[in-house]
């Protein structure tokens, strides 16, 4: 799998988790920022809508931010 394909596949999984968790972008951005994320709120929104690509570390951080927020909401 090429780097791009990998990134796109991860983006799709993350976007799905984002929709499932029903989070506000601002809340998500704040948590993503709190765990070390560097991209702006507009960039993560564009990434989740499939029109922007984040670097691998930022992709992992965003995915994990959604995971943590989704857990704290679901409990």
């Amino acid at each position: 799998m090429s780097v791009d394909k990998e990134g796109e596949a991860q983006r799709e999984r993350t976007a799905k988790a984002f929709r499932h968790a029903e989070l506000e972008i601002d809340d998500l951005w704040m948590h993503y920022f709190s765990i070390g994320g560097d991209a702006g709120a507009l960039e993560i929104e564009a990434y989740l809508h499939g029109s922007y690509m984040l670097r691998p570390i930022q992709r992992d951080l965003l995915d994990h931010a959604i995971y943590e927020l989704g857990n704290s909401h679901g409990d």
Partner: protein, 252 residues
């Protein structure tokens, strides 16, 4: 003009008072009460005035008035779900009732209020301009004034009350913004603290495990998910291994 209005020249003084209160006392209710008092004192025919912040669902979130008569008339409106304030807020325009005994738009509310001796009134929306300039101003509530005789107010009264409501809405929205900003700065402080912990732990893992930044992050994320603890708690545990990671289980 038969109505005895105080001139708009006195408005700056009234606003100075309102602004002074807002700057020293960031409590919405007190601010709205002061604006209501200013409106009450501006109109010769007034028996009471009040301001109500209304949320997106048409529910009053905060209300302040010069006396209990206004409070009672207000409560009736929100209980009955009809009345000039709700109409002014929903329609984002001034609403004047010249004689409550003959008012047919809100029959239940008008009849009940007339029994308290309220015979005419004006309600104007408190409008906040859209910051992006792309949309219509947003109505955040209504400012209203009542009189104990019919035809106490006219078009000029509507204009003056609207003059009071415009800046009042801005003060109130600034106050809301300040409260949001205070909340934001608290979250930001927490976020910055958590970021620095995670950065520090990442650096320690890179050194200890001889891995890249991304590698260190992946180790931490894997541990966070496997142990069901927050990433910031994983970081805390890496920095100070004596800390019990269980203490940080997220049960928000």
């Amino acid at each position: 003009m038969t109505q005895k209005h105080q001139t708009a020249g006195e408005l700056p003084e009234i606003f100075a008072r309102v602004a002074g209160l807002l700057l020293t006392e960031p409590v919405v209710d007190r601010a709205v009460a002061s604006i209501a008092q200013a409106a009450h004192e501006t109109f010769a025919g007034s028996v009471g005035a009040g301001g109500t912040l209304i949320d997106a669902h048409g529910r009053p979130t905060s209300t302040a008035s010069t006396n209990s008569l206004v409070e009672e008339a207000d409560r009736l409106q929100y209980d009955l779900g009809e009345g000039p304030c709700l109409a002014a807020w929903a329609g984002a325009r001034a609403v004047r009732v010249d004689d409550l005994r003959q008012e047919e738009r809100w029959p239940q509310w008008s009849a009940a209020s007339a029994r308290f001796g309220l015979l005419s009134c004006i309600s104007v929306p408190m409008l906040v301009p859209d910051v992006t300039g792309g949309n219509e101003p947003e109505a955040i509530g209504a400012l209203k004034i009542y009189a104990d005789r019919p035809h106490a107010f006219d078009e000029h009264s509507e204009q003056v009350l609207s003059l009071l409501a415009g800046p009042a809405a801005l003060f109130l929205s600034n106050l809301q913004a300040r409260e949001r900003a205070a909340h934001l700065s608290d979250s930001l402080k927490d976020a910055l603290h958590s970021r620095s912990l995670i950065d520090m732990a990442k650096g320690m893992l890179m050194e200890r495990l001889r891995v890249s930044e991304h590698g260190a992050l992946q180790v931490m994320i894997t541990r966070s998910r496997a142990e069901e603890v927050l990433l910031s708690d994983v970081a805390r545990n890496i920095i100070e291994p004596s800390t019990d990671p269980r203490a940080g289980r997220h049960e928000r």
